[in-house]
């Protein structure tokens, strides 16, 4: 059993489990959407006093904040008790393409060039991470949802707006990957 959990999960089992999360939340009377938490956190920090968009009763979103806390714990458990000894099975084409950009793959989850403490010694890393986060936060609220709200919940409910948002995710992602990143790195 534990070997079954610690090996990297197949795409079909992973996909099944994500759909299961959505169904569990639906049966609990909630809608799966993670980025709503970012708005809730702004409201809790007092943003509702001056900006109407944040003026709502954040207590209605307590369940989602609990879900967020759980996701951090889940990440910790996965890293410390369920991690696989083998390296991430990344495509060799991706490894080579990234090498050309100066980003090395050492089998880990994320590149040291962006996420190691050594990388944080460079101001450029801070600018990249801050800007990237800003785009995700701004864009997900502008589009009214992120991967969970649109790609999973929205598409499952056959929402055309969610399909348009997902197309937008790819326009942005491809632009960043093929046009901006070669200039950045």
């Amino acid at each position: 059993m534990i070997e079954f959990i610690t090996q990297p999960w197949s795409w079909y089992f992973s996909g099944f489990m994500i759909a299961l999360i959505m169904v569990i939340l639906l049966f609990w009377g909630k809608s799966f959407g993670f980025s709503a938490n970012l708005r809730t956190m702004c409201t809790m920090a007092g943003a509702g006093k001056s900006v109407k968009f944040f003026d709502f009763d954040w207590k209605t979103q307590q369940w989602n904040l609990m879900f967020l806390v759980g996701s951090i714990i889940g990440g910790y458990i996965a890293a410390n008790f369920l991690s696989s000894p083998s390296a991430l099975d990344l495509s060799s084409h991706t490894i080579n393409d990234l090498k050309a950009l100066g980003i090395s793959f050492n089998g880990g989850v994320n590149p040291d060039e962006l996420f190691s403490s050594a990388a944080l010694a460079h101001p450029k890393t801070w600018i990249i991470l801050l800007t990237g986060g800003l785009l995700v936060g701004f864009g997900s609220r502008y589009a009214g949802g992120c991967t969970s709200g649109h790609a999973i919940s929205g598409l499952s409910n056959l929402q055309i707006p969610s399909l348009i948002a997902v197309i937008g995710f790819f326009i942005g992602g491809l632009t960043m990957t093929y046009i901006v990143m070669p200039l950045l790195f």
């Binding site: 970012l38 609990m66 879900f67 458990i77 989850v109 936060g137 995710f169």
Partner: protein, 137 residues
Amino acid sequence: MKLIKYVFAGILFGIIMAKSEAISWFRIQEMFRFQSFHMYGIIGTAVVLGVLAVFLMKKLKAKDVDGNPIVFLDKDKQYRKYIIGGTIFGLGWALTGACPGPMFVNLGYGYLAMLVVIFGALVGTYLYGVLKHRLPH
């Protein structure tokens, strides 16, 4: 204490995101470079099963645990916000390799640098709230 079950659902979600490797910056790059089926398989499976589940829940008029009907709200039909907002989101997703959920899962995984990304995302969310009225929707 009624809220504790959501912590457990979140823990399960965090483990799924980590074990599926959907939290990996490398996997997101691989996806945007169309060099592996992995991420498409995950999202595709979730959506196909999700469509089936939602269809059945509507058909059977399913009720939630409190006995209330499960409602599926239609997203509002202002199309510019989805394409513009989605594109901005995609730029950030490819750059940081993390959408909002995986940002926090990665933090728990031990990538403390994600705090910088999370801070950026909070600032971005705040800026949207401030600028909302001036943006095309």
